[in-house]
């Protein structure tokens, strides 16, 4: 589904990603771990097309399509979803209006007619239940005044609405208490199908107890330095990153 080849990217002239190679197959869940400042969030921003980052080398394809040639909105319409580490508050734009615009732009891209108001509200109701999002929140401005947990739940709610092929969860577990973490993780699992893939960026094993990865990668200094099965996450939890740094001869 996703093929990343020798990806280099920089921000303000500083190179952060220094040759990422990653292949995610349909139906797989990949976890990306790594110490602070290793480039995890940069990778998710670059994949989503954040304008502040410049790709200097490499290629990324999503189901064979050149992802880097697409605008951020077209990447979304092609099925790439990023759950933000820090979801943005947008005062004055209601969740309903925001989501209706997004869903209908996706439909337009696929050549489908826009949903009617009642169809849309019905869809909202259904999807809200997946992450137990309060209907009051859905009537407010996007993320405005939401607690940390509500913001993350809202991200997964949006994911449910847009039904992406590939979801990138950027530290979705940060700032969540145990209950919220469970609800969010269960939401992600409910949305999982054999046709969709997921990249989970996290610092902690805890989230991976709920969302079981097929492959775990360690990102360090802008490169993937280790790839293994789910047991790698447990090992990192226990031993930290120092042994990997040692393996790398640092």
């Amino acid at each position: 589904m996703l093929e990343i080849k020798d990806l280099h990217a920089c921000i303000n002239g500083k190179e952060i990603l220094k040759g990422i190679n990653l292949s995610v197959k349909t139906g797989e869940v990949h976890a990306i771990m790594g110490p602070n400042g290793s480039g995890k969030s940069t990778l998710s921003c670059v994949l989503a097309g954040h304008p502040a980052y410049e790709v200097t080398k490499g290629a990324v394809t999503l189901d064979g399509k050149d992802l880097l040639a697409l605008s951020p909105e077209d990447r979304s319409r092609e099925g790439l979803f990023l759950s933000f580490q820090y979801p943005v508050e947008i005062p004055g734009v209601s969740m309903v209006n925001f989501m209706r615009t997004a869903v209908n732009e996706h439909r337009k891209y696929k050549g489908l007619p826009a949903l009617t108001a009642s169809e849309f509200l019905k869809l909202m109701r259904q999807k809200r239940e997946i992450v137990e999002l309060d209907s009051k929140l859905a009537n407010r401005s996007v993320n405005e005044g939401f607690s940390g947990g509500e913001k993350k739940r809202n991200e997964i709610f949006q994911m449910a609405m847009l039904e992406p092929k590939l979801s990138i969860l950027d530290e979705t577990d940060s700032g969540l208490d145990i209950d919220a973490l469970r609800i969010v993780a269960e939401g992600v699992n409910k949305l999982k199908t054999p046709e969709t893939s997921c990249i989970v960026i996290t610092h902690y094993q805890r989230l991976l107890d709920y969302i079981k990865p097929d492959v775990v990668h360690v990102l360090y200094k802008g490169r993937i330095v280790k790839t293994a099965g789910p047991e790698l996450a447990l090992e990192l939890e226990e031993k930290g990153y120092d042994w990997i740094k040692k393996e790398l001869g640092e």
Partner: protein
Amino acid sequence: MKAEQQYIDLFTDCEAMICRHSAEALNAPRAKAFADFQRTGFPTRKQERYRYTDVGKYFAPDYGLNLNRLAFPANPYDVFKCDVPNMSTALYFVVNDSFCQTIHPAAPLPEGVLFGSLKEMSERYPEVIRKHYGRLADTSKDALTAFNTMFAQDGVLMYVPRNTVVERPIQLVNMLRADVSFMANRRILVILEDGAQAKLLVCDHAMDDVNFLSTQVIEVFAGAGASFDLYELEETHNSTVRFSNLYVDQQADSRVLLNGMTLHNGTTRNTTEVTLSGKGAQLSLCGMAIADKNEQIDNHTFIDHKAPGCTSNELFKYVLDDQATGAFAGKILVREGAQQTSARQTNRNLCATREAHMYTQPQLEIYADDVKCSHGATVGQLDEAALFYMQQRGISLKEARLLLMFAFVNEVIDNIQIDVLKDRLHHLVEKRFRGELNKCQGCAICK
């Protein structure tokens, strides 16, 4: 005195004609206004009050004036469909500066309420007019008020007697119509006696593709416990210049809402001066301006807290695109003795391009010690993080920008107390941001 001279000459030559086609109460203050105008001339940008608008420049070109009061041939009810339909308003027209006397379909207003030609009302009720006309609009303090007082021959009187409630909003459409460059000087006098309640929507439209200059002076007297909403909506075109001076006096426990919205214009200068004369008066003063191309919008406000226990809430928002220029100068004066004043002023502005300019100048002058006052002004761009967030959800950059601009001005629209008007403005503002609103939409002549 270049721009002034032609008007001094015009007034000298035509004074008799101007007076002949007007009414005694309107003629009375002309001589003093003329003397004031001769003394001061048009304000220059060296004067703090007019720092952002070069008034003389706009008066220099030649404009036709209809001092001889030639009648307008067509019936505006036939040619004009307002952008704010189904308001179930009582609908009235002023064409250029003459009140349109054509019989209209509106249902009758409550007994005792007067709404009609200022000239005609001055003949029928000279006492009412004499008592109020020009009392707030001091010709010695503002040259444009002096100018308007010299030339205004007609306009509108709205009079609501004591404790009378006008349920339906009244709509007044100012239509500018001419075949050549044209100037209109109109006058609106609003009198709400104690306990009276009314809502007035005034829409400005330019119906022909010529240069227009309009001056307007509105005086509003809100009696004790009176309640008044005034919405002004400008939808003219790039060759229109508008100078509007609005003066309001509020007696004890009166409640006034003023909302001035500029959707489309050329150059606009709105001066709003409100005096809170009676204890416990409440004022909500808001404004919204959307400008692109070379449009200019200058709002100057002055709120005078004279009495104790009054509240004023002021909110102005601008969205400037292309090379548009906006200015906001808002002064709040809390006089000695005006204790327990609550005054809040907010001005927020969005500049969508590097060439758009915004000048903002909040001013607070406080001479009482037990007051709650605040002011805040910001000029910024659209939130990049929010734009990217929306794009990541599949919303195009263009649409995301629209959503943000729309959200920005919504706060002002949400202050509107007439639901149909609120809905309509949401729609109009959206169209405006989409670039689909180039001229007055409802105008049958333009199409």
